[in-house]
Amino acid sequence: MLTRYLKLYYLFCKQNLKVMMEYRMDFLLGVLSVMLQQFAGIFFVKIVFDHIHQLNGWTFYEILFIYGIAATGRSIHHIFFDNLWTLGWQYIRPGKFDRLLIRPINPLFHFIADRLQQDGFGQLFIGIIVISTAMPHLDISWGVLEFFILIVMIIASGFIFVAINLFFATLSFWMVDSLPIVWTIFNLSDFARYPLTIYHKGIRHLLTWIIPYGFTAFYPAAYFIEGSGFQKLALLTPVVAIVSCVVAYWFWNKGLKAFTSTGS
């Protein structure tokens, strides 16, 4: 079962890559524009830190590190799960979703595998650069275990992005297109690129326990920052990722059921 889906995913990917190469200009422009966008964000942080030395007790490289984890985690979502954005306007509204329902494979799998988003590679690239720039400046010695934990954290971060988007994209089954909601919620993730301690308690709780974007960047990064006070909470990141995915998938199935009983 799993091997079948892995093989199918590989075949879908191969086709998507071929299409990507066909539109070479699109590919390059997409990657480039995302890189520029990311770069602008980092540049902004740099300017701020040219004037101050610490932001609420956080140094420039610590913030850069948080930023890097956010960008890398987000790139997983951006490259492999980008189709989630299109559920309403490209699948449900034009009736294309029906096509997925008459195939003998899981419709969510088919839907996700339908697209590979090249622009995400720009994000991945920037993320890795930023993380590796910040790493030597952190008060931690990087061993195999630390690297392993970092990778687990980044993957978990990516899946939290996926779960949150999946959850809100699923609303499309009831309202045809939930894109504005998905977009609004997604923008909340920008908050998580900075230390959550700088925000009001309400926002902190919201981003930790309700819409757990805090676990996409700040908490995982805090694990590696001595004296951040969040090292224990940070260990919850993979658990939060799993729980979010389970909840989102449960919600997706509910949405699917509602969709098949009402039609569009």
Partner: protein, 342 residues
């Protein structure tokens, strides 16, 4: 193969007052109204049958097909396709069915046709040898060879439909649902597609349920038709039967010298004949339908010529098309009861 019993599907539709005010009001307070898209439909289709499923737009055809394919869950009633309840075991059902939904492509938009088939091969887990044999056969019958290397988005409508059809039959499904497979195609492509469907049925015993507005499709492919109107089956039987029932039916098309906006039949023949509602805007042409048992063609013609400036006329006999048009516009009321036909 397909067993449907008392199948019903109701939709809840939000009712809205007209205009912007109504739209704003509906944001806060909505009234719902239940639309009965399918009302207690029953049918029994044997393995290997080719059945035409026809009805006017909005009669409930697509809703029925969606329930048969498992896309929609019925409000009540029973559906079984090949022993499987489609909406409960959607994936299992999916591996035994194929479908073509007129305008919407089942293929992958950006990749060449051949690669689309390759993906389908894996999705449906078709054995390599069978896949090669089937594809070779389809390429020959549907003349696909020159199309295989082209991405779907670059194909013309006719080319695309040929490719779609091959995709629907590729995994040798037991049942194939064809929703308007010939819409908008030229005659040559239509003929090729019809031949292909007949050939598939003959060779693999594929059960075919076909919805179409093209009566030529029905007459050439199907032995049996099911007519649905306003969510209910109004006829289920052979094409010969319905032709016999309506064998006295005649249609005369009059071409008038100038257009007439609100055409009414002359008083003398109003009780025996009806005007067939038109789909196009050509007011020069009027089609009058009547039964030769009640009034003779000569009477209709002479009466029409007395009241209107007739330029030309054509007489058509009971084609299934005119019969269906008649049934849509008048229903079967007063002619045959649904039960009697069975």
């Amino acid at each position: 193969m397909i067993v449907v019993k008392n199948l019903e599907k109701y939709y809840k539709i939000a009712k809205r007052d007209p205009g912007l005010r109504g739209a704003v009001k509906s944001l806060f307070h909505r009234k719902y109204e239940t639309k009965k898209a399918v009302k207690r439909i029953s049918m029994h289709i044997e393995s290997g049958e080719m059945v035409g499923y026809i009805g006017a737009n909005g009669a409930g055809k697509s809703t029925t097909i969606k329930m048969l394919t498992g896309i929609l869950t019925p409000t009540s009633g029973e559906v079984k396709v090949n022993g499987i309840i489609p909406y409960e075991n959607r994936k299992q059902n999916a591996s035994h069915i194929g479908a073509v939904f007129g305008q919407r492509t089942q293929l992958f938009w950006d990749i060449p046709v051949r690669e689309s088939y390759e993906l389908l091969k894996h999705i449906y887990e078709i054995p390599q040898k069978q896949y090669e044999e089937t594809l070779a056969e389809f390429v020959e019958v549907l003349h696909l060879e020159p199309l295989l290397g082209i991405p779907v988005r670059q194909l013309s409508l006719g080319q695309k439909m040929r490719c779609e059809l091959a995709a629907a039959f590729l995994h040798r499904p037991k049942v194939v649902y064809l929703d308007e497979p010939t819409i908008g195609l030229d005659v040559a492509v239509k003929v090729r597609i019809r031949n292909f469907i007949k050939q598939m049925n003959a060779r693999y015993g594929t059960t075919v349920l076909l919805t179409t507005h093209d009566m030529q499709d029905i007459e050439e492919i199907c032995h049996r038709i099911i007519i649905i109107d306003d969510g209910s089956v109004i006829y289920d039987g052979s094409i010969q039967d319905i032709k016999a029932q309506f064998g006295d039916k005649r249609v005369i098309q009059f071409e008038l010298e100038h257009s007439i906006d609100h055409f009414v039949l002359p008083e003398e023949i109003r009780s025996a004949a009806v005007v067939i509602p038109k789909t196009d805007e050509d007011h020069h042409v009027v089609s009058v339908s009547f039964s030769s048992k009640e009034i003779s063609g000569a009477e209709v013609i002479s009466c029409m010529m007395k009241h209107y400036p007739v330029l030309d006329l054509t007489i058509a006999d009971a084609k299934i098309e005119t019969i269906v048009e008649e049934i849509y516009s008048k229903g079967l009321k007063g002619r045959v009861q649904h039960e009697e036909i069975h």
